[in-house]
Amino acid sequence: MPDGTALRLRDLHKKYTDVVAVDGIDLEVRAGECFGLVGPNGAGKTTTIEICEGLTAPDSGEVEVLGLRWNSHATTLRQRLGIQLQETQLSDKLTVVETLRMFRSFYPRGPAAEEVIAVVQLEEKRHARVMALSGGQKQRLALACALVGDPELLFLDEPTTGLDPQARRQLWELIEDFRRSGRTTLLTTHYMEEAERLCDRVAIVDHGKVIAMDSPGKLVASIGAGHVVEFPAADIPDAIDLDAIRAVEGVRDARAENGSVRVQVVDLQRVLPVLLEEVRRQGIPLTELRTHSATLEDVFVFLTGRHLRDE
């Protein structure tokens, strides 16, 4: 990659019979970075990553992977990419080492099956059948299958969906190790904390479009609110004067949704007393109050007015 770009998408479009999955996506992934496509389910993340993986043909637009194109260099590309698909069920009756030997046989180079087993810490399960593995172990085996060809670019589609927190952290460490080895990762996730922890840059995708792209830190900073204050207001939704709350100095935005009020504030310590005074003045009975530092989740809410996990 002479220009330091691992992946370049230009004006990508993909329509299925009844739904527009990708509606004009442009993005560049730099060599060596971990890039995240984040957004709710159905935003077009999987279609986008499968187009990058050469599994789905776009209706229009340009795809350049490692400086090559799918229609002219498919075999070369397949040898240089590592891929983990969402929800692949590997063969139940094979053991871990048999599965990896099979995948290893497809690639001209790469570590031996045993070495990759050590990398993903499945040594004790080497001869266990796939059906006997836990969800986290299966995902690590899937990651091992992606690593066995010694890829320059790794695609991970929802790598930790459905895993318990411990299994998720274990997988994050492996992905971080891969990134530290200097190679490129493109992952999709609808877990914002995953994107914040793993990704150098993220693109927030919604309805097939990139609605924001930057480092997680800069995206959070861009909404200008350091913290979010939330309190329930299910009983008296009409009585709340949101404009009055928005008028409080230091409040960036206030929204009522799902029976609670979310207020984005610049500085928690200065704004909170004033905000509480306003709440008291409006006669809202305060039964609960939560605050947290702003996250990518809040960025998504700020940009779309919706939560990521509103399904």
């Binding site: 599994l55 397949r78 698909l85 069920q89 063969s91 290893r104 690639y107 299958c145 080895s181």
Partner: protein, 359 residues
């Protein structure tokens, strides 16, 4: 973690992709492992044909024809009939004798008529009835003093090769080749598509033709067992002959298995669900179970459907196997059947490649 990072960085260990590391070898090994680790598959592929052969072989064994049962209400007639060792005679009162005939417990009722005549009551559409008529008449005429003008001698020929079991074993071998190929390939292909495992494999540099070839190679390995077991069992338990050359038998089975595998690839080329592919597999196989002469000769069907029946791959397989095993036919003599199978192979494989859904 240092070791981990070293493994991430320490790559590019070139490995020769020959021998055990060759993708085709690995894919075929996977097929064999998936098969042998499924106990039910082994049962249906290996033990079921043995049970079927043994069961049918015993049911239709060619033992000396069972003694024919006749009844009579007349003591003198009973006396004459008892002289024939081929008859089992019961002397009953008239009503019971008639009831025994109606119930099929006896094949013939010999009754005394007026003026010393004998009346035979029997069903002339039933071979056993006709046999009983001949035996009973001979016994009564001889009992009355008839002397046969020509002296005769019996020479019994119970030659392997002409019995029902000899007809059956090649039929079951052909049926086994077909159903194992179709069920085995159909299920594993659709299952791998349903699990998105196929899509994952397509995302690797694996040549797609290797994936399909691994199924054909796997069938070749299983073929040794699925043909060897019923043929060997037939030879050991029932003396079913294999009169042709062993090499020719191998060629017939390999060609047949490959043709059915290609048919299975075609059947499984689009289906996404096990239910969908099961229906298709039955739709393709059931007519052949009936028409291709597995259990009874296909010649029993009307003449105008014979060309159609002859064009079916299972008919070609079974005809070739019977001619080889029972008559010792050579490959040259079996060219028409092999050509039929070759045509099925070429057409199905070409169509399957065009239609195959890789995800």
């Amino acid at each position: 973690m240092n070791e981990t990072r070293a493994a991430f960085a320490g790559h590019a260990r070139a490995r020769p992709s020959s021998g055990m590391g060759h993708p085709l070898v690995q894919l075929t090994l996977v097929r064999i492992r998936e098969f042998t680790r499924e106990p039910e598959a082994i049962f249906w592929a290996i033990f079921f044909p043995i049970l079927l052969t043994a069961g049918l072989g015993i049911a239709f064994r060619s033992e000396p024809v069972d003694a024919v049962r006749v009844v009579t209400s007349d003591a003198a007639i009973a006396e004459s009939l008892r002289r024939d060792p081929g008859l089992v005679v019961e002397h009953l009162d008239d009503a019971t004798a008639r009831a025994a005939l109606r119930a099929g417990k006896a094949a013939l009722l010999a009754a005394a008529g007026p003026d010393g005549t004998v009346v035979y009551r029997y069903d002339d559409t039933n071979p056993e009835g006709r046999t009983a008529r001949m035996l009973a008449d001979r016994a009564i005429q001889r009992g009355a003093g008839r002397v046969d003008p020509v002296p005769i001698g019996d020479e019994l020929v119970r030659e392997p090769g002409a019995r029902y079991i000899d007809f059956l074993v090649p039929g079951l071998v052909g049926l086994g080749i077909m159903s194992n190929a179709i069920w085995g390939l159909g299920f594993s292909i659709v299952d791998s598509r349903r699990r998105k495992l196929m899509k994952r494999l397509v995302a690797t540099p694996m040549p797609r033709s290797y994936y399909l070839m691994s199924f054909l190679l796997w069938r070749m390995v299983i073929l040794v067992v699925e043909v060897g077991v019923p043929v060997g069992f037939g030879a050991l338990a029932f003396d079913v002959p294999v009169r042709g050359r062993l090499l020719d038998l191998i060629v017939i089975c390999v060609v047949a298995s490959t043709a059915f595998s290609a048919l299975a690839l075609l059947i499984a080329s689009r289906a996404r669900t096990i239910e969908g592919v099961s229906g298709l597999m039955n739709f393709v196989q059931v007519p052949m179970w009936i028409l291709s002469g597995v259990f009874f000769s296909a010649q029993r069907f009307p003449d105008f459907v014979q060309p159609l029946i002859g064009a079916l791959p299972l008919t070609a397989t079974i005809d070739a196997l019977r001619a080889h095993m029972l008559e010792g036919a050579t490959l040259v003599q079996l060219a028409p059947q092999l050509a039929t199978l070759g045509a099925w192979l070429a057409v199905c494989f070409t169509l399957a490649l065009k239609l195959f859904r890789w995800r």
